[in-house]
């Protein structure tokens, strides 16, 4: 294709001479190391894991190579496992909703009422905690929510409670709070990226034409930022399926999520069982990502300052 420039002349990009497969290979060669890593250290291990998931563990915890679906069947016939799976889905959905609402309000505020320059600064401030160690942030929540944690001590010194409360630690509420904490920056970044492109005069126009504010919001704003909303959902929901650290550190014995089952299987040397569960989750995630691939604008989250 050519581009016209002033004066009617055309400017054509230098055309590469077309080539045989040898030249093609040479052109693609720089891609090979990355492809090797992607295939050799991501796809192949997932395949190997699938293979292992059909094997079984005998009484001596040795892996016996007999093919079968028993690991998958066993998982679904164990009510405790199924309950954990459902709880994880519910927790994921709940955290996603809270993150989206929180982040939407903030992103709306930044996109509508703050100059672009200051909004960028604010986003940077929001995203900085995300780039600090995840392990350490969860750890310090333990120090805040814990039985002898800062929150209890503040409440006790104010006189609201007389002895340390365990309401907010080693249970699902604590896990919920920390998960919202970990994922809300993602949601804020994604939603801001789509609200930034929205022309807010449209809302005024809609109201001029007789729409109530809530109608303008629902019929004008929401449809236009739908890709952003879906992206944010994916970015919050999917990682929660793999959360084992937060539940392990603040969730206590009853606050386990599905990924804790995986680590427990592996901790107990039940490798085929763990492989089966991991593969199910991985397959679910990959299918979700492929279905929503259009909305996978990872750049919105990671590639901005």
């Amino acid at each position: 294709m050519t581009t016209e420039i002033v004066g009617g002349a055309t400017l054509a990009p230098p055309r590469s001479v077309d080539d045989g497969w040898a030249a093609r290979l040479r052109r693609l060669a720089p891609f090979l190391p990355a492809a090797l890593i992607l295939v050799g250290l991501f796809f192949v291990p997932l395949g190997v894991m699938l293979f292992f998931s059909f094997w079984r563990t005998d009484e001596n915890l040795n892996v016996v190579p007999t093919l079968g679906l028993q690991n998958y069947a066993n998982f679904f016939s164990n009510p405790a496992y199924v309950r954990t799976l459902l709880k994880t889905m519910l927790m994921g959905a709940g955290v996603t909703v809270v993150c989206l609402v929180t982040a939407f309000a903030v992103a709306y505020f930044l996109a509508r009422y703050v100059s672009r320059q200051w909004a960028r600064v604010a986003l940077l401030v929001i995203i900085v905690p995300f780039w600090t160690s995840y392990l350490l942030r969860v750890y310090s929540w333990q120090a805040i929510l814990g039985e002898r944690g800062a929150l209890n001590q503040v409440l006790m010194s104010v006189g609201l409670i007389s002895e340390p409360s365990r309401l907010l630690v080693y249970n699902d509420i604590a896990t919920f709070i920390v998960l919202v904490y970990v994922y809300v920056p993602f949601a804020a970044l994604v939603l801001y990226a789509s609200l930034e492109r929205f022309d807010f005069t449209q809302l005024t126009a809609a109201q001029d034409l007789g729409a109530r504010p809530d109608q303008a919001f629902r019929h004008v704003l929401l449809p236009q930022i739908r890709p952003g909303l879906i992206t944010a959902c994916i970015f919050v929901f999917i990682p929660i399926l793999g959360e084992f650290l937060t539940p392990a550190m603040v969730g206590g014995a009853q606050g386990l999520l599905i990924a804790n089952l995986i680590t427990n299987f592996f901790g107990n040397a039940l490798i085929p069982e763990g492989a089966a569960l991991s593969f199910m989750i991985a397959a679910f995630v990959v299918v979700l990502l492929i279905v929503f691939r259009k909305y996978l604008r990872v750049e919105d989250v990671y590639a901005r300052g």
Binding site: M1, T3, P13, P14, L28, F31, P33, A34, I37, L41, F42, P45, L46, V48, F52, T102, Y108, F109, Y113, S115, R116, A122, V128, P129, W131, T132, S133, Y134, L135, L136, Y139, S140, A143, V184, A188, R197, T201, L203, Q207, P213, I234, I238, G242, L245, M249, F266, I271, A275, S278, I281, A282, V285, L289, I290, R293, L296, E299, A303, R304, G305
Partner: protein, 285 residues
């Protein structure tokens, strides 16, 4: 795009406009407080004199920093972390940058599928990658887990990041600059070396710095691929599991400062990359 200061904005659209706005501002402040609360506590506890960190904080002390500096195991873990981070960053940056060039310009056949394939390792939860690598290394390939397997595991996530960052800058690159160089007699190699690389250098630098940050803080995949030599996060995790170890707060504070410095440089580099390639006079190709 409408200009930011809109005359209509100054007229109250609704009676509630002002209070909505005030509410949103409060909400924003609350979110920031929420996000920084644990970080503030972590830093405060690192100066807490009592050996069970908690409120009220007792007199500032540097004791835990001193304990930290005399903990041999911890220092060894720091050494491991730095070794891994440097190797991972160098490899990921080179491999990722090369791949980004081919991805954007190389006429790859299934380009969109390739793009999605590169995003999978970023999006698939780390625990699944870690577990599959554990089976792969320890069971299928019968490898001894070591820092080498840690490096391999971290490359799975860092390479896609570099590809992503460099590719998104290359996409906005003004190719007329390169064609001008060719017109003036530069070979393709020279054009890349003297025109393209200097212009996208900030993006490459940002990719490298983000790889370092990711590597230093990476816990989940590392936890499954680490052998007998711990990295700092896996060491901290085992310590924390055994009980209260106040020097962890000191280590955390130092790590925080280090990551923030690296992240800040990455942001500056990315900002520069945006300015350079920001002039979107993109030829239609």
């Amino acid at each position: 795009m409408a200009s930011r200061v809109d005359p209509l904005e100054t007229m109250p659209v609704s009676r509630f406009a002002r209070s909505i706005r005030r509410g949103l501002r409060l909400w924003f402040a609350a979110l920031i407080a929420f996000l920084y609360l644990p970080i503030v506590f972590m830093i405060a506890f690192s100066f807490d004199d009592s050996s069970t960190p908690g409120l009220p904080i007792q007199g500032p002390t540097l004791r835990w920093y001193d304990v930290m500096l005399h903990n041999r195991q911890l220092l060894r873990a720091v050494g491991n972390t730095i070794t891994v981070a440097v190797i991972v960053a160098v490899l990921a940056t080179i491999i990722g940058t090369m791949a980004a060039f081919v991805l954007v310009r190389g006429g790859i056949r299934y380009r969109n599928a390739t793009r999605v394939a590169f995003m999978l390792p970023i999006m698939v939860p780390g625990v699944l990658i870690g577990v599959s690598l554990l089976i792969y290394f320890a069971r299928a390939a019968d490898l001894q887990l070591s820092l080498v397997t840690v490096i391999a595991g971290q490359l799975v996530v860092t390479v896609p990041f570099v590809v992503l960052i460099v590719a998104s800058r290359l996409q906005g690159f003004d190719r007329f600059l390169e064609w001008a160089a060719a017109d003036l007699g530069a070979s393709p190699r020279q054009a890349i070396r003297h025109v393209v690389l200097p212009l996208i250098a900030p993006a490459i630098l940002a990719g490298a710095l983000i790889s370092v940050t990711l590597s230093i803080d990476e816990f989940v995949i590392t936890w499954f691929t680490v052998g007998s030599q711990p990295t700092l996060p896996t060491y901290i995790y085992t310590q924390v599991k055994f009980g209260v170890t106040p020097e962890v707060n000191a280590v955390a504070t130092v790590m925080l400062v280090a990551t923030l410095l690296i992240f800040a440089s990455a942001s500056v580099a990315l900002g520069r990359a945006r300015r350079v390639t920001g002039r979107r006079r993109r030829p239609t190709l």
